[in-house]
Structure formats: C-alpha cells, structure tokens
Amino acid sequence: MLATFDVVTLSRLQFALTAIFHMLWPVLSTGLAIFLVVLEAIWLRTSNPLYYRQARFWAKLYVLNFGIGVASGLPMEFQFGTNWAPLSEFAGDFFGSVLGFEGAMAFMLEAGFLGIMLFGWQKVPPVIHFLSTVMVAFGANLSVFWILSANSWLQTPAGGTFSDGHFNVQNYFSAINNPFMVKSVIHMSLATVETSMLVVAAISAWSLMRQKAPEFFQFSFKLALVILLAVAPLQILAGHESGVQVAERQPTKLAAIEAIWEDEPAGTSPAWALVAVPDEATGSNRWKLSVPGALSWILESRPQLSKPVRGLNSWPADQRPHMVGLLFYAFRVMIAIGMAAAALSVLSLLLWWRGGLSAESFVRWPWFSWAWILSAPAGYLAIEAGWVVRCVGRQPWTVYGQLRTADAASVLPVGEVITSLSTFAVLYSALLMFALYFGARIIAKGPNITLEPPGGRGSGAAPAAATLPAPGA
C-alpha cells in the first residue's frame, strides 16, 4: 500500500507518525515535573517523609517516560534535514535558530539537572536537589515555549520578508513573538499540566479502588484535583482564545474544523454544526445536527456575525485543507474531553465538599473511579487531536501562505522513506507496549511507604498521616 504513495505523502506520514508518538512523552516531562517541584517544596517545608515518598514514587514514572521522550525527539529534529531540506533552507535562518535555542536553553538545562534530580538524593544537599528539580521543570517548560514559538511561526509567519524562496529575518523578537505564539504556548502548557494531573489522578483512583496505599494515593489524588480545578477551566478559556485567533488568521482552518462549506455573510446568525458528515466530493455536509444561531456566539460572543465567515468552497481546492472529516471530529474530540475533564473535577470537588472523597468512596463508586482512570488516556487523546487540528488544518501549507508542503519536502527515493517509516511504525508500537507494561508494573508495585528521607531529615518527629482538609470542613 505504501508503495503507491509519492515521497511527499510518505514524508508527511513519517512526520505525523513520529510527531504523534513523540508527543506522548513530553506531556509528563513538563507537567509532572511541576508536580514534582510542588511535592518537593512541601517536603522541604514540612519535613514530613510522606511527601518525600510522593516525590520518589512519581519520579519513577517520570524517568521511564523521560528516556523515551528524549529518544523519540531525535527523529523530530533530524527529519527537518533528512526529509524537509527545502524547508530547512527556506526557513532555516529563523526556524533552525529557534531549535538551536531550544537545545541550548531548555533541553540541556533539563538533561543537565535530571541526573541530580533522579540519583542525587544522597549526593547533594536538599536545597541543591530542590533547585535541580526546579531546573528540570523550568527547562522542560522552556522547551514548550520554543517549540510552540517555532510551530506558531509556521502558522503565522512574522518578523521578516520572503524573497527568492527564502525567509529573511528582520526582527527576531517579532518572529519569536509571532501572532499565534502567546496563546499557543499558554494552551499547550496548560494541556501538559492538565493531562499530567489526569494521569496522577487516574493512577491514584486505580490504586484507591484496589485499596492500595490509601493514605498515599488519597493525598496525590487530592493534590492533583486541586491543580486540575485551577487548570481545567482556564484551559477551556485558553482553547476558546486559540479558536478565535484561528478564525482571525487562518480562515481555511476555521472553515474546515467547523465544516462550513458556503460563505456566511455578516449580519446573519448561522447555525453551528454539533455533528456532521462532511462530504468533500460534493462540497457539503451529507447530514448534520446543528444548534441554530450558535456560530456567531462561539466566534464573536454576539447574536450576529460582524464579519463574514468564508466557506471552504470559496477557495480553490489547492488552497484549503482536505480531510475535513478528520479536522471536524478531531476538534470536537478535543473540546469534549476538555469540557468533561473540567466537569469531572468540579463534580469531585462537590463530593469532597460533602465528605464523600474518602478512600472507601473509590471502592463504593466504581463508576467514579473508572471515570478518573479513563480520563488519563482521554487527556492524551485531546492533546493529539489538538495537534491534528493545528497541523493538518494548516495544510496545504507548511509555512502558512508562503511555502507549500509539496515544495517543502525533499526529493528522496521512495524506498528509503518507506523503509524508515515502517521501521518507526514497528519500533514505536513495540516501545509503546513495553512502556505501558513497565508503567503498569511500577503502579502495581506501588510506592515504598517506609522509605526514609536522606540524612534522616524529618523522620520520626513528623505526623504519620498528612491529608488535605476538606474545603467545607
């Protein structure tokens, strides 16, 4: 089947596969790192060994996750040279510099302090150790900044001029701070924290359902829940803001994610399709279920459109994205999961308020535990769906409006790309299976609840149990 594709399609498939796989790992590397900083800070303040054990347990998952993230990040960087050499030449002045900054500022910082964070408990004083954890978290999150700045530049290129098939940077700061940058960085940072907390909550819920280390996991569940209560509603707002900027700057993407085929003039109140069956052959939706008058509320928070919305049919076929069904549903999956995570968090807060968040409640209400357990894979799915919206929706452009994907790909022998693509497919499937297997073993084994902190710090004197009080109590 692969042999019937041209090299551009194969390189796109390979980039999609490696990017979708790679994206699974930085989620915890960035989001869980913040959680580890919080835990270690609480430990240093309270000297209660419970928090030390928390930090040590979650760090076990962190390191399993981290290695695969580093390894699967390599093909991302090198593909720009191997498969996308015309893009490298076109945009290298800016795009390459940013990847260089990411390496020097973010990646090295994270890697340089990771060793101390993981293995240095006995080797350095607690303050230095805490500083290392902070640096790992800071480095990982700087990475989000640079990668999202680079990707946003592909979406809304700024800061220079295009001539002779080359981007000439005139102002680096406006290129880095391109129109999409700020909101995209916020949206992605919130996404990594949110999904990481869903993972912590899911593992805690699973363990509580099985009555494993209930005190330990009750604490981690509640801490994750508190963070989620702040992050999940913010994320809905950040997501909305991202959608609005897409409507302003990338009308073809907006039309595709909402499956709008015909122009909607200003002053009207068009319906918004909740679900639809988009049909690219006829340029219309075969069937749809819509909410009357909702589109202008979603885009502009007002009863009528102040600006017209262009439909997909108003562009020539080679100037708008295809795979409309994929974009339409990826967008909806992301939103639905974001809403559900926020709703589940609020519901859990209410239960907590009513005193129903004891370790037994996870046994008594399996549906509640399962809702939390399933929220972890859902978080990942939402992130992947978001990237599909972002990057498939940008097509047919690699640099929006400036460089077509077809012109950005290297001319390579088809066999070469098929070989590397199929190797990645097989290897990544195996890696994912083993990572889940070993992750499950770490979870099944559970935390070491007798582990003593280094240097006898805080042992003995501290209270045996530490729990957050119920907010209503």
């Binding site: 290695g67 040279g81 002045d93 240095g120 640096m135 390579l412 083993f434």
Partner: protein, 333 residues
C-alpha cells in the same frame, strides 16, 4: 559588514566543532561503555557499568541535539544537504540511540534483564557504527551541484572507506569507554578494563593509520590538502603529538594509573578532531561548499551567537557540576 561575513561563519564553525567534539568525547564513552557491556562477565558488573552512565548519558546525548540545532540555524544549506545525503546512516544512528535509551529505562524495571542488555549493547554498536559511516562519508566528500544541493546516490555512504572509519570509531569509543571505567570502577572490573583499554588502543591506532594511508586515495581534495605545503606544519606536528600521547597512554595503563589513561584518551580525541578540522576547513559540506556559501544571514548568526554564546559557559558549568556531584567510584546500589 565584510568582516562580519568572514568572521561569523568561522565563529559558528568553531562552535559547531566544539559541540561535536564534546558529543564525541562524552557520548563516546557512553557508547563505548554500552559496547563493553556486551562483554560484561555478570549482571552485577553490568549494573555497575550502566550506573556509571545513569546521571550523564542523557545530557551527553544532548550535545548532539545542540549540534543539530546549531547546524540547522547557522548553516541551513549544509543541514539539508548533509542530512539528505546521509539519510540511511542518520536513521540507523537514531534507531541505535533510541534502542540504547529505552533499554536503559526498561532494564531498570525488568525482571528478565537479558533482552534489554542485548538491546543496550546493540543500540550502542549501531549508533557508533552509523556515526563512523557519517563521518567517513562526509570526509570523503558529498557531491553537490552549484547551488550546494546533494546530487549523489542514496547509497553514497556504502563504501570501504566509510566502513573503515566506522570500525575505527567503534574502537575509539571502546577505548574512551574503557578508560572511563578505569576511572569509575575498582578491583576486578577495573583490571578487566585496563586490558580492554590496551587492546582498544592498539586497534584504534591501526584504524587511524589505515585511514591516514587510504584517505589520499579516497578523495582528491584530501590528497591535495595533505600534500599542500601550507599545511605541512600541521601534518608534521599533529602526528608527532599523537605518537607522544599514545606512548603516554600505554605507559599509564602499564602503571595502573586511574585518571591519566582517560585524560590521554581525551587528548587523543581532541588531537584527531583538530586533524579532521584542518583537513576540512573551510568546507562545511566537503569537498566544495564552504561555510561562507552555506551560511545563514549574518544577522541570524549574530542573533544566535548572542543567545547561545552566553549559554555555552553556563551549560558547561552545570554539566561539570553534575560530574563533580557524582565523582568517585560507582557501586552497585
């Protein structure tokens, strides 16, 4: 502006060389230890070998990521052309590095460690060999058109001379890995690696000699450079220093010294690297595309330099701190 147009590409050539050198030395001993782990007498010894890398392999590998990013930003044309020409070996290297990294994490959690031990060793061999093939191919020259785009075949990297460089680089990595282990281990394990270091010194030397004598036949440009009177001082001094270092290395191994074998090996790496630099400069895509042709705009290089240049000492500082925090012998748990 003229001055900057000559100066900035040269600065970036030096910075890239520094990143590559740091990578080759630091991940070189990681990969060397990985290759040596295939011959570990038992599981406890292998655990010590891997623990000696636990806190550093990741940061060491990052110098490669940094080199890639900096090459991309400073010489975008070279990034595209070289990586496209080396599609095969680059993917094999990435494959090797992925296998190495995940074997590291999975072995930690596995009860049956054997498959992961094997994967760790094989990944290290594969990464080392692919890096050697890349180096050999670039040295022999990458055919380009006038615009600097690759014009050769997809199999340009399959030839005896790049195979020779690959084999030699593996020996070199085993050498630096052995001397690193002399530093980090004690007792029987240390004696074992004094022996492997001796053997690897001999095999690396043989490889280096073979490369030196066959290089003039492999590439017209290298031949001219080697017999260019202007470069004669380099090609007299460098080999003499090399001989002196090898003698010292053998001596320190015979004396059972702990630190010096590693130091001499690092110096040998630096020396070989300087030799390669002299052979290639100012080409960034040997034989014909120079750093000036492949250069990004001067403003871009200045901008990158202000950001990354400031960070180089900081990166070196905390990397060194990491080594200091974990100084001394490694023990199994």
């Amino acid at each position: 502006m003229d001055f900057l147009e000559l100066f900035m590409p040269t600065v970036w050539f030096v910075i890239l060389a520094l990143f590559l050198l740091l990578y080759v030395i630091l991940d070189g001993f990681d990969l060397g230890v990985g290759i040596l782990s295939l011959t570990s007498p038992g599981e406890d010894q292998r655990t010590i070998l891997m623990t000696s890398l636990g806190n550093v392999w990741d940061a060491n590998e990052t110098w490669l990521v940094l080199m890639g990013g900096a090459l991309f930003g400073a010489f975008p044309l070279a990034y595209g052309t070289i990586l496209k020409a080396l599609y095969g070996p680059i993917y094999l290297m990435i494959l090797g590095l992925i296998l190495r990294a995940v074997a590291f994490e999975f072995r930690e959690n596995a009860i049956n460690k054997r498959p992961w031990n094997l994967m760790f060793g094989i990944g290290s061999v594969l990464a080392a060999a692919s890096q050697g093939v890349c180096l050999g191919t670039v040295l022999a020259g990458i055919p380009t058109d006038a615009a600097g785009h690759f014009t050769g075949s997809a199999w340009i990297w399959v030839n005896p001379s790049s195979l020779l460089v690959a084999l030699t680089l593996i020996q070199g990595y085993v050498l630096i890995g052995s001397t690193y282990l002399i530093l980090k281990t004690s007792g029987e394990l240390q004696r074992l690696h004094v022996r492997t270091a001796r053997i690897a010194t001999a095999t690396t030397l043989m490889g280096a000699l073979a490369i030196t004598f066959t290089a003039p036949f492999a590439s017209e440009t290298l031949r001219q450079r080697l017999f260019d009177p202007a470069f004669l001082p380099f090609f007299v001094v460098l080999p003499l220093l090399g001989v002196a270092l090898i003698v010292q290395l053998f001596r320190s191994l015979a004396l059972q010294q702990e630190v010096w074998p590693f130091v001499y090996t690092v110096l040998l790496f630096i020396l070989s690297f300087a030799g390669l630099g002299v052979m290639v400069f100012p080409a960034v895509i040997p034989p014909s595309v120079t750093i000036f042709q492949a250069s990004a705009s001067v403003t871009s290089q200045v901008f990158m330099l202000t950001f990354i240049g400031v960070l180089i000492p900081i990166m070196l500082f905390y990397n060194i701190y990491n080594y200091i925090a974990f100084r001394g012998k490694v023990s199994a748990e």
